[in-house]
């Protein structure tokens, strides 16, 4: 099918959907929601014990046990290390795979396996990768770093190849016509054009990984989550609440910093695209 025929077919499908499809899709989505609620028995949820549970939790957690502040900060630092190293490894390793996965840079017989690899790495969330690595290499931060690394390759790799495919093709064509090799096109055209987007994606991923690095400790992969789980096992809610507050504040601060830095880089990208 030629490109023009493809566009015509897509336009026909859109027109048909516009007339009949939207009410149908809306109806199906509604039916699916009702079915899911029924299967999960959400309609039968008993909230009557909620107030009592909340009262118990309040009594057990307040006043918080501030002596665990040092443990919490140590755990937070370990979480940040895990997130940072995992993100760094993941971003570096994802770069060659995502370049090969870009359809505007490589033929389909290379892009397809590269995309499959990235998709496979994205199938499991980092907490399930952490379970696998805890089984393979035992508990501790190393399992967390490997888990974060693998998930980051899959996630950032997808963002990266989408960024590469969205690049202006004119410089690629022009420099290729000058006789540049593929390596030179990647090094001198693709990466300089995509660098702001890559930095922004890496920061977003770090922010995302800090939250997940806090959670993966629960399965024994190090970080503050490991301590939270330990205190939960002994029902020491007054300690758990201090650690949760530390995670909460840290994530808020990192989110804000990351947002501002990303806006700086994305703003630069928008300027360049509009100029």
């Amino acid at each position: 099918m030629s490109e023009s025929e493809h566009h015509a077919t897509a336009a026909t499908i859109r027109a048909t959907l516009g007339t009949f499809g939207r009410p149908l899709i809306f109806g199906l989505a509604l039916l699916l929601a009702i079915w899911s609620i029924w299967v999960l028995e959400l309609h039968g949820t008993d909230f009557s014990g909620g107030a009592e549970g909340l009262s118990f939790l309040y009594g057990a957690a307040i006043p918080p046990e501030m002596s665990v502040l040092e443990v919490g900060l140590r755990g937070l630092l370990e979480t940040l290390y895990i997130a940072y190293v995992g993100t760094l490894f993941g971003v570096v390793l994802s770069l060659p795979v995502s370049l090969v996965a870009s359809r505007n840079l490589f033929p389909w017989y290379l892009t397809l396996p590269a995309r499959w690899l990235l998709a496979v790495l994205r199938v499991l969330p980092s907490i399930l990768w952490a379970v696998i690595f805890v089984i393979l290499i035992g508990t501790g931060p190393a399992a967390g770093v490997f888990a974060i690394t693998l998930y980051t390759i899959g996630f950032v790799g997808k963002l990266e190849y989408e960024a590469f495919e969205g690049l202006d093709s004119a410089p690629i064509e022009a420099v290729s016509a000058l006789g540049a090799t593929r390596l030179q096109v990647l090094r001198f055209v693709v990466l300089p054009q995509a660098i702001n987007s890559l930095i922004s994606q890496s920061m977003f991923m770090f922010e995302y990984n800090v939250r997940h690095a806090a959670a993966i400790g629960i399965v024994g992969a190090g970080g503050i989550g490991y301590y939270i789980m330990g205190y939960l096992d002994f029902l020491q809610y007054d300690r758990v609440i201090v650690l949760l507050a530390i995670v909460f504040l840290a994530v808020l601060i990192i989110d804000e910093l990351s947002y501002r830095l990303r806006a700086l880089f994305l703003g630069d990208t928008r300027t360049s695209l509009s100029s």
């Binding site: 030629s2 490109e3 023009s4 202006d168 004119a170 410089p171 690629i172 064509e173 022009a174 420099v175 290729s176 016509a177 000058l178 006789g179 540049a180 090799t181 390596l183 030179q184 090094r187 001198f188 055209v189 300089p192 054009q193 660098i195 702001n196 300027t271 360049s272 100029s275």
Partner: protein, 246 residues
């Protein structure tokens, strides 16, 4: 390549997109040291023909070769310069780095990876920047330049390459008269020095006649008219750009 072979030759060439021809039955040659201008109204296929010669599009029919390399293959690295209509510059990079892209064929894989150019290449690039009137802008990012200045960067990139064939799409648009004149003079000097064959796409027939040895007016799906610089039509059998022609 034999010295008698013209650097650009097309025989019954058809060009277009998605198998749909825009121009057909294109037969012409461009000799070393000569310039062929392609003129015609917007959308007549000038840029499509140039892109095909640059190897960016596959010919639909016929035979065509640039420096003895059959299209759509491209000739050896560094031998063909290309100034596309969109210029194809990397906006985030400096003027100097964009001009140095014309010397990528000098680099091995390690220097490519490290982005390391020789001192000579940098000196040549600075001279080319000076030639196009952008001296002092070497460290400026291309995205900070005006449209005309960017065009000059693309021309400097082609000049520093010293190619045997130069393909340029509306090379002089967006330039003031004085700058356009200096670019034409630079091109003529480079052509004398390197015996380079040039194909330019130009909207303005007067400019095309002034700078080219032959002019092809494209339209109605093919070559409408072949003209000499003086504007006199030549017989259909005459190959445009051949300096031996009357």
């Amino acid at each position: 390549m034999s010295r008698t072979e013209p650097p650009i030759r097309c025989q019954d060439l058809a060009v277009g997109y998605d198998g749909e021809p825009i121009l057909t039955d294109l037969s012409f040659t461009v000799e070393s040291g000569s310039t062929l201008a392609l003129v015609g109204r917007s959308g007549c296929g000038k840029t499509t023909l140039l892109k095909t010669l640059a190897g960016a599009l596959t010919p639909l029919e016929g035979d065509a070769a640039v420096l003895d390399t059959e299209l759509p293959e491209t000739p050896p690295p560094g031998t063909m310069g290309y100034v596309p209509q969109s210029l194809g510059l990397v906006g985030h990079e400096t003027v100097l780095m964009n001009v140095l892209h014309g010397r990528l064929s000098d680099l091995g894989w390690m220097d490519s990876l490290l982005g390391r150019f020789s001192g000579d290449a940098k000196i040549d690039a600075c001279e080319a920047i000076e030639q196009v009137g952008l001296g002092g802008y070497e460290r400026t990012r291309v995205k900070e330049l005006s449209g005309g200045q960017r065009r000059r960067v693309a021309i400097a990139r082609a000049f520093v390459q010293e190619p045997r064939v130069l393909l340029a799409d509306e090379m002089l648009s967006e330039l003031d008269d004085e700058t356009a004149r200096s670019i034409v003079d630079c091109l003529a000097a480079l052509q004398r020095e390197t015996d380079m064959a040039v194909v330019i796409v130009e909207h303005n027939l007067e400019i095309a006649r002034e700078i080219a040895d032959a002019v092809l007016r494209l339209g109605s799906g093919g070559i409408e008219e072949r003209m000499t610089p003086a504007g006199t039509p030549t017989p259909d059998s005459t190959l445009a750009g051949d300096r031996t022609d009357p």
